[in-house]
Every structure is written in structure tokens, then in C-alpha cells.
């Protein structure tokens, strides 16, 4: 075990190295590329036994990953944003093969317009695919979650591929102190992959991914994959306990920070949780009883745990770093569905923020806390809001003047300072 400074990308690469991945199909995309570059260097220098092979696109990369996993070897890959979307056909296909492998996604907002910076619409596009999803807030968590994801994905009751998500730039390029566990320690936690009945075996030739028509068989297999995903909730507990025993770090499916006595909660995913925790500490100094609840596991969805954690609170500010066009925040609607009809359910206040790498400032977290308290006092749920300052709007206006266009009418007057 040693402690060093690693970026989120460095931590992800170390996770794959320590998991002793046999095969890493790769294709570059910002802000993920350093992960595959680090692995390529180790692989070619013989510091890692696994093979890194560059492919011609993410579609090929994910197809190679899933097919290799189906032969019974341990596979790692990584992508981001447009790459994840380009591989989407395989993102939906691989879980049906029940071939477990781990992919890291470094969240980056989607085109168009084109950007390189983070939000969660990319990873949420994979939400309904059957991939398990673990979302990280620190670089240590990235390394640890890759290891946990393998054990979870390969769990005999689960057998599904998993995505570990980290925020582009905020985590991918930020150095934090990270403990790199010893290989022996990792081997005790994560034994070699036992592919069970998904491997290629000379004594049992089998063809995978058959065609089923008529709907009955199809429904059976899809529902079975759904049940396997749900089983990952129980399996996750087992994995988290084993991880804590071996490494001394505990990662619950849902992280709750200073939430025991909290009347108000910030609910969000990913790296901004660190900032929300800081805001909570400061708000508590001013006497507000507020905490943070952050789902790490998004698929399977930890609905029960969320119900337990949020029952009896006054109100929850749900901060969505994503936007479902024509609907609003995805976390918000998922949380609402988990809490609907529950006795003592809190009021949910919806915020959309941090799109395309836009900062969510501490002041904005204070404002959200104040508005959430006011909403609870008034007993009226406010309309969802986009975090956007008057100064930002002025900046947009300036650019629009340069471009010779006007602001569309429905954008006028929607500015929260």
C-alpha cells in the first residue's frame, strides 16, 4: 500500500491494473484518453500482463470488450460522452449477453453544441441499458470503485457489465491523495474471474445471443436481466463489506453526509458532492440543519435506501447535472418516483445546474438551501429552476448581439442570481 497523488484518470487506470484486466480495447476521447494511455504504457513495458489494443471506434471497442468478456476473460475499457453514445448499440447488447466487464466513463456533456466539459447526460443515456452504474465523487473512490465494480459485476447472482463514472475535468484532471492498495491485498478482495457458464469451453460449445421472436422468450430474458440487476443491490452490500474488511474504506450504496438530524438535504451525484458538503458545513455553522445525500449506485436504483434516508425530512434540493428535454431533471423524477405515496415524504425542489462544465458556486448552494427552506415553509413546490446568473445572461446577450440575433422569448426573465 502506498499513498500518492493521482488524477481521477490515473486512479481509474490503477483500478484496472490492480484488477489484473486481461484485455483492454481502447479508443481515445477527451477527457478519458489518459486512462488508456497509462494502461498502454504499463502493458507494453510488461508492468501489467493484460493486453491493450487500440480499435477504430468506440462501437468496435465495446463490441470487442463484450465479446472478449463472453469468452471468460477479465476486460476493462473506458470512454466518454460521444464515445459512449457511439457505442450505445453495444451498451444495450452486452448486458443481454450477461458478460461481466468494467467500463469507466468520464462524464462529458454531449453535442450539440460541442464542448469538452462535464455533465451527466452522457452516462444517463446508458441508464436503462442493464449496465450497473457506480458514480464517484473523489479520485480514491474511482480506484476503489473499479475494484468493487469487478466483484459486483462478476458476482454469481449478478453477471452484468458495470460502468464506473467520474466527472470530466473536475475529477479526471484533478490530483488528489490516493491510496494505491498492494496487489496481494487486491487479490484477496478480488479473486480471479470465474466466468461460470458464460465462458467458451471446449467441452460445452454454445452460441450466444440467439434470436427470439414472439415476445415471450424476449420478455423472459429481459426480465431476468432486470432481476439480476436488482440482485446487485444485495450483492453490493456484500461487496462493500468485503472491501471495507480488506481495505478499511467503506462505500455505502448511498452516501449520507451530516444527514442524521438534517431537515434539508442536497441530493446530487458526482464530484459536486464535495462542494455541497463544504456548503453544508458552512450552513450548519449558521444553524441550518442540512446534509447531503449522494447515490453512488444508480443502477440498480437504491429506492428503499433513499426512502429510508429521506423519510421525515422537510425538503430536498435535487441538483440535476443533466437535462431531459421536455421533462427536466432525471434524478428529480427518479427520486420522485421512489418517494411517491410514501408517508412523511419530503418536498422535492428541482434544480438544473452544471451543464457543460458550468460551475455550481457555493453561493448558489446557499441560495438553493434558502429557497428550499422557504418552499417548505410555504408548503408550495416551486417550478424547476435552471442555475443561471444575471451576469451569465448578460454575457449571452452580448454574444447574441455580436451574432446579430435576439434571445428567444421563452428565455427572457429566467435568471436566478
Amino acid at each position: 500500500m502506498r499513498r500518492t497523488l493521482l488524477t481521477g484518470n490515473g486512479a481509474a487506470a490503477w483500478g484496472a491494473r490492480l484488477a489484473e484486466a486481461d484485455y483492454v480495447p481502447a479508443f481515445p476521447i477527451t477527457p478519458q484518453t489518459e486512462i488508456i494511455e497509462a494502461l498502454a504504457g504499463w502493458s507494453e513495458r510488461g508492468e501489467m500482463a493484460g493486453r491493450v489494443v487500440t480499435l477504430d471506434s468506440e462501437h468496435s471497442m465495446l463490441t470487442a470488450a463484450a465479446a472478449a468478456a463472453a469468452t471468460g476473460v477479465r476486460v476493462f475499457t473506458a470512454t466518454s460522452s460521444q464515445g459512449l453514445l457511439y457505442g450505445m448499440e453495444m451498451i444495450y447488447t452486452a448486458p443481454g449477453w450477461r458478460a461481466p466487464f468494467v467500463m469507466v466513463n468520464v462524464s462529458r456533456a454531449l453535442a450539440s453544441p460541442i464542448t469538452l466539459e462535464a455533465d451527466h447526460n452522457d452516462i444517463l443515456a446508458a441508464r436503462d441499458s442493464g449496465f450497473l452504474q457506480i458514480h464517484c465523487a473523489t479520485c480514491q473512490e474511482v480506484l476503489d470503485s473499479v475494484l468493487m465494480a469487478y466483484r459486483l459485476a462478476e458476482h454469481p447472482q449478478v453477471r452484468l457489465p458495470a460502468i464506473v463514472n467520474l466527472d470530466g475535468f473536475y475529477l479526471s484532471f484533478t490530483r488528489e491523495p490516493v491510496v494505491i492498495p498492494d496487489q496481494e491485498q487486491v487479490r484477496r478482495f478480488l479473486p480471479p474471474f470465474d466466468p461460470g457458464n458464460v465462458a467458451f469451453r471446449a467441452d460445452r460449445p454454445a452460441s450466444q445471443a440467439a434470436l427470439v421472436l414472439g415476445g415471450s422468450l424476449y420478455s423472459y430474458f429481459r426480465y431476468e436481466a432486470h432481476l439480476a440487476t436488482l440482485q446487485a443491490l444485495t450483492a453490493y452490500e456484500e461487496v462493500a463489506q468485503a472491501f471495507e474488511r480488506e481495505m478499511g474504506r467503506r462505500y455505502p450504496a448511498v452516501e449520507a453526509y451530516r444527514a442524521e438530524d438534517a431537515e434539508y438535504i442536497f441530493f446530487l451525484m458526482g464530484a459536486y458532492a464535495t462542494k455541497a458538503k463544504d456548503a453544508v458545513n458552512r450552513l450548519r455553522e449558521r444553524g441550518m440543519r442540512i446534509g447531503v445525500v449522494r447515490p453512488r449506485l444508480l443502477r440498480p436504483y437504491p429506492a428503499r435506501i433513499l426512502q429510508e434516508l429521506l423519510r421525515g425530512r422537510r425538503a430536498v434540493a435535487v441538483i440535476d447535472q443533466n437535462l431531459s428535454m421536455g421533462m427536466g431533471g432525471i434524478l428529480y423524477s427518479e427520486l420522485a418516483s421512489a418517494l411517491y405515496g410514501m408517508k412523511d415524504a419530503p418536498m422535492l425542489v428541482s434544480y438544473i445546474g452544471g451543464l457543460g462544465g458550468r460551475d455550481i458556486s457555493t453561493e448558489e448552494l446557499f441560495t438553493m438551501a434558502a429557497q428550499t427552506r422557504e418552499a417548505a415553509d410555504a408548503g408550495v413546490t416551486p417550478e424547476p429552476r435552471l442555475l443561471y446568473t444575471a451576469a451569465e445572461l448578460r454575457e449571452v446577450r452580448k454574444m447574441q448581439t455580436i451574432a446579430g440575433s435576439k434571445l428567444p422569448g421563452h428565455m427572457e426573465g429566467k435568471n436566478d442570481e
Binding site: 481515445p28 484518453t33 494511455e37 513495458r45 487500440t54 460541442i114
Partner: protein, 297 residues
């Protein structure tokens, strides 16, 4: 191609945006050659679309004072095809990198060759993925470290000790696919490249121009000197309409011929074929109408 008698100078095609390429990037020379070729062809800016994918080179449409379309990685040709099919009167110039065109988007080339739309496709070939900071592309030539200790492990980051695969020969492939105009240029010879591009734009059908356009930031091996040493002009007696001869020229190993290597001027184009079909049906009442007439009588 829709041309005009109004004179446009190369400068007229320059947009207000300043290219954000690195100093010394080959794409500057390609861009200047394109301005000049557009001027030589008298393309009306308002009748012209420059379409690209993603990459350093794919930023080019912003620097040209025409319609522009900066799409997604690898989908340059489908976008160009869609625009051409919907608006046949427009001049469509597709541009992008060797990664965009020969790697993630490679599947489109043979099919575009089959359809043969009147599109010019300009590839800025720097033998690497520039925008993602220097990984191997299908045209990269990074020898294995065991053969050439010159390879700098810090530079080729996904293949630090060299490639295990061979580079493709896009010119030979294009001839094999019967792309109806195949040429090669070099950004450090912008006048020659402009002539080649003007011929490509004037060609009726799908034209591929692969222009060597070095990336001094991430590929110091295939730099301007390398290409000055490894290129020669297409021999004057070369007959580009002779496909076998063109193929032979493309397969030569003593360097890269610069110029027009292959052309087939009589190849039917997608839109012409469709217009032909339409005319047939115009003079022919539809089968459905005949059936209705028969049974509803």
C-alpha cells in the same frame, strides 16, 4: 458545381474566425489552397457548404466564409451526402482528418464511392489523431521500438513502443472502390494543392483528395521534411483514366506521387440515377392507381 462569372478572390472566402491551429500546422497550407481553389472555380459563397466531422482539421468550416457544418466524429460523408441530396444545387465540400475519414468513419467511403454524389472530400492527413493529442491513426507509421529505437515512448501514448499493425494506403483503397476522382496533395505545396482541389471541385462525382498536412505538435516523424523527401509529382505521361496504371502508381513504394492519380468521368452519380428513375415514373401511372381503377371501377 455551381460556378459564377463574378470574380471572387481567395480572400473573399476567409471568415472572421482566426484558425486556432498550432503554429506550423499543415492545415494552414491546406486552408489557403482551398481558398484559392474555390476562387479558381468561382464558387459562390452562398451556394457552398463546407462540412466536417471532429478533429483539429474538422475545425476548418468555421474559417471559410460559406455555409458550414461541424458534425460528429466520423460522419462527415453522411452529412455531406444528406446536404447534397436535399440541395443538389449547392457545392458540397467535405473536410476532415485521417482519423475521421479512415478510422471511425471509414465505413462510409466505399458506399460514397458507389453512390458517387457530386461531393469533394478533402482529407488532411497528418498520420495521427491530432485533437486527442497524438495517438496512432490508420495512416500512422510508427515502427516497433525493437526495430527503431528512435520511437519516443512519450509521444505515441497508446502505442508507446510502436504499432503492431500496418498503415493503410488510402489512395489504393479509393481506386479499388472506384472513387471517381482520386488525388493526393501536400500542404507545403499549396499552389499545386489548389490546382488539384480545383480539379476535384470541378469533377462531376465523388472526389477524394488526400493532402499530407503535417502535425508538428504530435507527429515529428512525418513532418514537412519527411514529405518533401518522400513525395514526387505524378509523372506527366500518367493516364489517370487507366485504372490499372493508377493502381500501380498508388502501390509504388519509392515515395508518394502527388497529383491526380485516378479519374473516371463517366461514372453515374446517385442524383442523376434518381432523376432518371423519377422520369420513368412520371410517364407511367402508378401500379396502385391502376389497381384502384380496376377494382373500384
Amino acid at each position: 458545381m455551381t460556378a459564377t462569372s463574378t470574380q471572387y478572390s481567395p480572400r473573399d472566402y476567409k471568415s472572421d474566425l482566426k484558425p486556432i491551429w498550432c503554429a506550423g500546422c499543415g492545415d494552414f497550407g491546406v486552408l489557403n489552397a482551398l481558398y484559392k481553389a474555390m476562387s479558381m472555380c468561382g464558387l459562390k459563397p452562398e451556394d457552398t457548404v463546407v462540412v466536417s466531422g471532429i478533429g483539429c482539421s474538422s475545425r476548418l468550416p468555421g474559417f471559410v466564409e460559406t455555409y458550414g457544418y461541424h458534425g460528429v466524429h466520423g460522419r462527415t460523408l453522411p452529412a455531406a451526402t444528406g446536404i447534397k441530396a436535399a440541395r443538389p444545387e449547392l457545392n458540397v465540400i467535405a473536410v476532415g482528418g485521417d482519423g475521421d475519414g479512415y478510422s471511425i468513419g471509414a465505413g462510409h467511403l466505399p458506399h460514397c464511392a458507389r453512390r458517387n454524389p457530386d461531393i469533394t472530400y478533402l482529407i488532411m492527413n497528418n498520420n495521427t489523431y491530432g485533437l486527442t493529442k497524438g495517438q496512432i491513426s490508420p495512416t500512422s507509421m510508427v515502427p516497433l521500438a525493437s526495430i527503431s529505437p528512435k520511437v519516443d515512448p512519450k509521444r505515441w501514448k497508446t502505442t508507446p513502443y510502436g504499432m503492431t499493425e500496418e498503415a493503410i494506403n488510402p489512395i489504393a483503397q479509393a481506386i479499388a472502390w472506384d472513387v471517381s476522382f482520386v488525388a493526393r496533395g501536400f500542404s507545403y505545396k499549396p499552389n499545386q494543392l489548389a490546382d488539384i482541389l480545383a480539379a476535384a471541385i470541378s469533377h462531376r462525382g465523388f472526389a477524394l483528395v488526400d493532402a499530407f498536412s503535417p502535425c508538428p505538435t504530435f507527429n515529428q516523424d512525418q513532418n514537412d521534411d519527411y514529405y518533401k523527401d518522400h513525395t514526387y509529382d505524378v509523372p506527366e505521361d500518367h493516364d489517370p483514366t487507366d485504372r490499372v496504371k493508377a493502381f500501380e502508381l498508388a502501390l509504388r513504394t519509392d515515395g508518394y506521387p502527388i497529383g491526380i492519380i485516378y479519374r473516371r468521368d463517366n461514372k453515374p452519380s446517385m442524383l442523376e440515377e434518381q432523376a432518371f428513375l423519377r422520369r420513368r415514373f412520371e410517364n407511367n401511372p402508378g401500379t396502385m392507381e391502376k389497381l384502384f381503377a380496376k377494382y373500384q371501377g
